[in-house]
Symmetry: C3
Subunit: 215 residues, 3 copies
């Protein structure tokens, strides 16, 4: 039964590509808001797209990185950054931000599921595997915000983002415990993460705030 595995991998690749693009675009927007030059745009787009997975791989001591194995992606990123310099106008920023919310949610789900799966395969304990999923899915954005000299939105905006990813990671762990095959574990975890994130976006649900305020 090898074919289904291969076709799942292919499907996964396709979804990963759109999710990676959404992550890269979030970097481009952040860079544009900060008026970075074309070099800065390439870097924040690259960090947003590949930073989380790269950090996970450094922590797990895995090589090669995604962007080394699929180096063509780096060209696509640079093309994106040049295109953004040419065509992005101020009025596009808020629009694009809204437009990428959904592929970004897709990325959150996929990167979480994939990251947790990879960490479990590497023999990590459950809680560490879940964290590796969260890191894969969210630390690209964290690095983007650090380079842009902002407190990372994922830590600060009191909206559920990493939390959806955290739940999704446990779905992978549960599925592996139940000896589900890879495609089922990853699909279930990704679907649940995306649904949670979609729910959070629709309802505008926020995490509880602090009861004191900044002076």
């Amino acid at each position: 039964m090898k074919p289904p595995v291969i076709s799942f991998s292919t499907l996964q690749s396709v979804v990963e590509i759109s999710a990676t693009l959404a992550f890269a675009l979030s970097g481009l927007l952040a860079g544009a808001r900060k008026q970075l030059d074309v070099v800065g745009l390439c870097v924040v787009a690259g960090l947003s797209a590949f930073g989380g997975g790269t950090l996970r791989d450094v922590l797990l001591d895995r090589r090669p990185f995604f962007w080394v194995e699929h180096a063509d992606w780096l060209w696509a990123l640079m093309g994106l950054a040049f295109g953004a310099m040419l065509f992005l106008r101020h009025r596009h920023l808020a629009l694009t931000e809204r437009a990428i919310e959904w592929p970004d949610a897709l990325g959150l789900g996929l990167f979480t599921a994939n990251g947790s799966w990879i960490a479990l395969q590497a023999g990590m304990p459950a809680i560490v595997a879940v964290l590796m999923g969260v890191i894969t899915a969210t630390f690209g954005g964290v690095l983007r915000d650090i380079v842009c000299n902002e407190i990372p939105a994922a830590f600060h905006d009191h909206r559920p983002y990493a939390l959806c990813s955290f739940v999704g990671g446990w779905v992978v762990v549960a599925a592996v415990q139940l000896q589900a095959p890879q495609w089922a574990a990853i699909s279930a975890a990704a679907a649940i993460t995306v649904m949670l994130r979609a729910l959070a976006l629709w309802t505008g649900w926020t995490l509880p705030p602090w009861r004191f305020h900044k002076r």
Copy 2:
């Protein structure tokens, strides 16, 4: 003579636990001051507690990390962050900051001694081993401050902190040169680092400032 070694390790674990807690609390306080959400609190607490050791292990190419081997700690950290969200009030901030100065000094000593020892075992030259001790003890706080979008206090507040750790690292190097056993090297280095830091806190000693001022 195995028992003493084991009991030293146990003692070391106990002290490391309180020191790690103090480091995590320093992260929680920094996060509370910046009004991070619960996700951000977990991350800054985790970075403060484990960031220095993790960076050392990445540089030395050592695995597994402390928080992978002792994954239960991650639960404790998350519990701390939730507790902080529920119970921490504004008036607690300055109080807690004062209260953790001493366990924090303990952590400075222990992490320094431990980090330098590990680096020497990994065959590093003396000065590099000392730096690894400093990194272990101080870079958790540095990463915490970077995530909170501040210039790291350890580089900026002109109070001796990393400097105490630097001296402590040389104590480890000297003890190893004199072929002292592990427990003696680590205890002596930790004790001297803690005493120096305590002295600095008591006397309010500051590093020499720049003779010019910002425009």
Copy 3:
């Protein structure tokens, strides 16, 4: 024909030393502007000088780092930081900044050429090797600016810096394709990078800005 190889290595070492000093000085200046203490100065000088190469080596999983193999350099850095605390006055800042522009350009060229060469030897694809050259040459400065709580100048000042390095990386790739010997590949790439950077400094050429402005 071993002697020429050795003498090239020696020449390379000499140039690397002056370039590393220029990079360290750029860190000292940034730290002085932010009124860091002597610990902070040592760290930003060290990050500026060795941060790029260290990040490259972590990504390529290479050990030992330059500053582990040549640990004496760490003493030199600390000496520099102490000297800066003693002798650097406000009126020196802009002067030194001008004075290090040229050795800095030299460093840009050498670190690019060296980084790309090392990455190619490690079997990286061309575009990745070029990026590793750029990372080697520019990420020291990026880490310096992040620690100083600024948006990295290399991403923000719209002046060609990383871009010169990017072109230089391709010169290494082309030279290796043409089976040029190491010294020729590195010299050509470094020379072209330095010339491009010099041209950019002379002409004051800037990258195209965004057509919209911050509100």
